[in-house]
Symmetry: C2
Subunit: 483 residues, 2 copies
């Protein structure tokens, strides 16, 4: 019954040659996700969902420490409510899914599937907040957002429904709200770097690129291996743009009524897409240890029942020791597959460490250890098992270091527009001076396809002239083509 399916099930596209096809193959063949029957929609299989669960657990802990609690909002928003903040409505209107009937009954005020929940959350908040005692109010919602995508589906990156969290906080003062915007952005940055081993650029969106309805949007952006930029998370200062139409007001200690100051912020499952792109290779997925559902797979190798008994028993002993150290271990006892198939399978699935244990290893009192991220192999004495947590930490650290090195190599300063036009074809992040005029920004977009992805904090520099119009520039944003 053994079957070597390594050829048919392996990744057949090369990451460097056909990035897009490579990405899709990794997603599907590592069983992270699959296409749903409706165009634009995606199903998450357990291998993929467990990564989301791991991120969720980390965020939940950090949100709780920041005094943020979780709640639930329904998916349906009446059209009249969605239209209450005009710019916001215009921004989302073309992408909204509309419910018009329940059973055979026509619904009067059409219902939108939430593209985001500001309007619904703040309708509730206006009921819940009366006085300064009720502030700050900080609630996060783990749900999905629905925005009809017309372009081809790209799992995790472009789907009409996506898993995300949206946080909505309300404050008595503008300063407190703006502090919250930054506090969240820091949580996003730390989590993406520490858990997913992806370096990010942190800063502000331009006026053109900000969230519709926000005063300003702060963002974290990363460069992908194909040179395109991916927005990894955003944190919006809404000012009083929503509190006024939605009447989110509070009576202060002096009993005078004020409008509140608000923030909203979110990250989505596109973080998983980024992780696949940044770390994956021609063999498939490479998982950072912290989010890997299985951190270590043990593959027992034996030729007869005596060997089998002894080796499986030793594998279970090692598993037990490692699980005591909170390491997630799996023993691959499948007899219907060849060793070659098993090795390829676990490599494709990106498990950080593979351990092989055969008769010779038993004799040497050691185990063969293969690191997924750099294909390094070494023998580890049974007595050295205790250093495994340190090895996993080291892998996590090195994956971030390597990703940083690659991101740096894809980022450069530039000030000549002709050179920029040529270089942008190869992709990457371009730090280029800009005069802050939306005309220049739009012309650059039109002529090169590049957006201002982020204006890094502390990027003030008055020594340069705008790359496009040669007028005085005060800041150096990052330009790139985006996903």
């Amino acid at each position: 019954m053994r079957k070597d399916m390594s050829k048919e099930v392996g990744i057949t596209a090369l990451k460097d040659k056909d990035f897009s096809e490579w990405y899709t193959q990794v997603v599907l063949k590592a069983k992270l996700a699959d296409y749903a029957p409706v165009k634009g929609l995606m199903v998450l299989r357990p291998e993929g969902y467990s990564i989301w669960e791991s991120l969720k657990a980390t965020f939940d802990k950090k949100f709780a420490n920041a005094g943020i609690r979780n709640g639930f909002l329904p998916v349906l928003i009446p059209e009249s409510l969605l239209g209450k903040e005009k710019k916001h409505f215009e921004g989302f209107n073309p992408e909204v899914f509309w419910v018009t009937h329940s059973g055979t009954n026509k619904i009067g005020d059409r219902l939108a599937l939430r593209p985001t929940s500001e309007t619904l959350a703040y309708t509730m908040y206006s009921k819940w907040i009366q006085s300064w005692r009720d502030l700050p109010l900080k609630i996060n919602f783990w749900n999905t957002a629905l925005r009809a995508e017309i372009k081809a589906t790209k799992p995790f990156l472009r789907t009409s429904e996506f898993l995300w969290q949206e946080g909505h906080t309300v404050h008595a003062t503008s300063n407190e709200a703006q502090d919250e915007v930054l506090k969240i952005l820091e949580i996003y940055k730390n989590t993406v770097e520490e858990e997913l081993a992806i370096p990010v650029n942190i800063g502000r969106k331009s006026e053109k690129e900000k969230f519709v309805g926000a005063i300003y949007t702060d963002t974290i952006e990363s460069v992908m291996p194909d040179g395109k930029a991916l927005q990894m998370g955003t944190s919006h200062f809404l000012g009083q743009n929503f509190s006024k139409p939605f009447e989110v007001k509070f009576a202060d200690k002096d009993n005078v009524e004020h409008y509140t100051w608000q923030t909203s912020w979110g990250v989505s499952w596109r973080l998983i897409g980024a992780m696949i792109m940044v770390h994956g290779d021609d063999q498939g997925l490479v998982l950072p240890p912290k989010v890997a559902p299985i951190q270590i797979v043990i593959v027992p190798i034996y030729k007869n029942d005596t060997e089998k008994k002894e080796i499986i028993s030793k594998s279970e002993e090692i598993k037990h020791i490692l699980e005591q150290k909170d390491i997630r271990v799996h023993i691959d006892v499948r007899e219907e597959f060849s060793m070659g198939y098993k090795f390829n399978d676990w490599e494709m699935k990106g498990v950080p460490i593979r351990m092989e244990l055969g008769p010779r290893d038993m004799k040497n009192n050691s185990i063969m250890l293969a690191k997924r991220y750099n294909a390094e192999k070494s023998n580890l004495n049974f007595e050295e098992i205790d250093i495994i947590p340190a090895i996993l930490n080291d892998i996590q650290k090195m994956m971030l270091e390597n990703a940083k090195t690659r991101a740096d190599s894809m980022s450069r300063h530039i000030s000549d527009y002709e050179e920029f036009k040529k270089e942008i074809e190869n992709g990457g992040f371009f730090f280029a001076p800009w005069c802050e005029s939306m005309d220049c920004e739009e012309n650059i977009k039109k002529e090169t396809g590049a957006d201002i992805r982020v204006i890094p904090f502390n990027s003030e520099d008055e020594s340069k002239k705008c790359m496009y119009c040669q007028k005085q520039s005060k800041i150096i944003p990052i330009f790139a083509r985006g996903y």
Copy 2:
């Protein structure tokens, strides 16, 4: 700035007198949930959502131990897919919300908001399952279901969108699938009894009451304080009813293709509704310690700054000790509220233990401890703090015991139909012999409003005659009016 709002914010309806109004007040005033702007929809506030999170964590642990992993399914199902299993479709059709447009574009095949995900899950499963190696496949989905409710909204009990989990498993044999149905039902029973302290009756639904599309439905049912029955969770044996139309097939070891055997099962946030109804009292919510977001609230009492400093410091010391024992503790330091307000507030919110710490307690080296569920007060010496976990366990146990006693007092055996017609007006569970004819079942429903809620396992008894038609009866189901 102190304000005694105990009157205006307290529960004003009596549980015994106006159960429905009492229930709604508890939900709203304990800030568990609120009505959304769309009729029939509900928002969950952090106090309510954290109970759901606690249940979710328990189920996740038990599901994982049973080899079940989580996944994600989108909310939209094409009409053509939903119609593939005919009875199933007819069952849900009147309640389906239909999406007909995205932006201004009309959608060809209308999209249903999932009333349940069998059809979508099994479309995917038919792609994922090829051989016996892929079985069993056991995936659970934490999502919401949408079913348009025409009757008045009742938070947690009757809403057009509700939080739930739906599990879908696939097996090579009928026996294995049926074992899974029971294994899940046991998990449901244990969790509801151990976490929510609600006793359940376990058994099978009648043909009339089973899930549309199932071979049979197993269920857990509880009697509520108003005498009505609440379905607490169901586990369905689907047989091959879905695997045939959806072509969920596998090649066995002999390479012959077979249709699979399937199960589906779910519990929803109505469990929270049951918890409110079963344990709440005229002061408000009463939370079983295991699911209480705050298990112990410490209220420091002081008259001057010297006392304040000493007492807050002692409160923090006690909090620290208890947190080391994984107990969730909150110190209420709000100065804007009176003691009376605070006591009422925490009682309304159902926190299992309130501790009061004032100057006299400090002098006596003790703390005043008030149990929410029975209003019992006692003094606890500072040195006895270690017994707090045992006290919480005892509260949990006693709440289940009390609920069992009340449920027993509301359950009786009956065989005279005239007596039944009279008694059903007072509510309760009635164990009554039945001939297994759907005619009798329907007539009883028509004449009394009572359904067969559950046919308890091992309820075979051939000594009785059908309560309705006097023909031979072999089983004793439970009849009751339901929610």
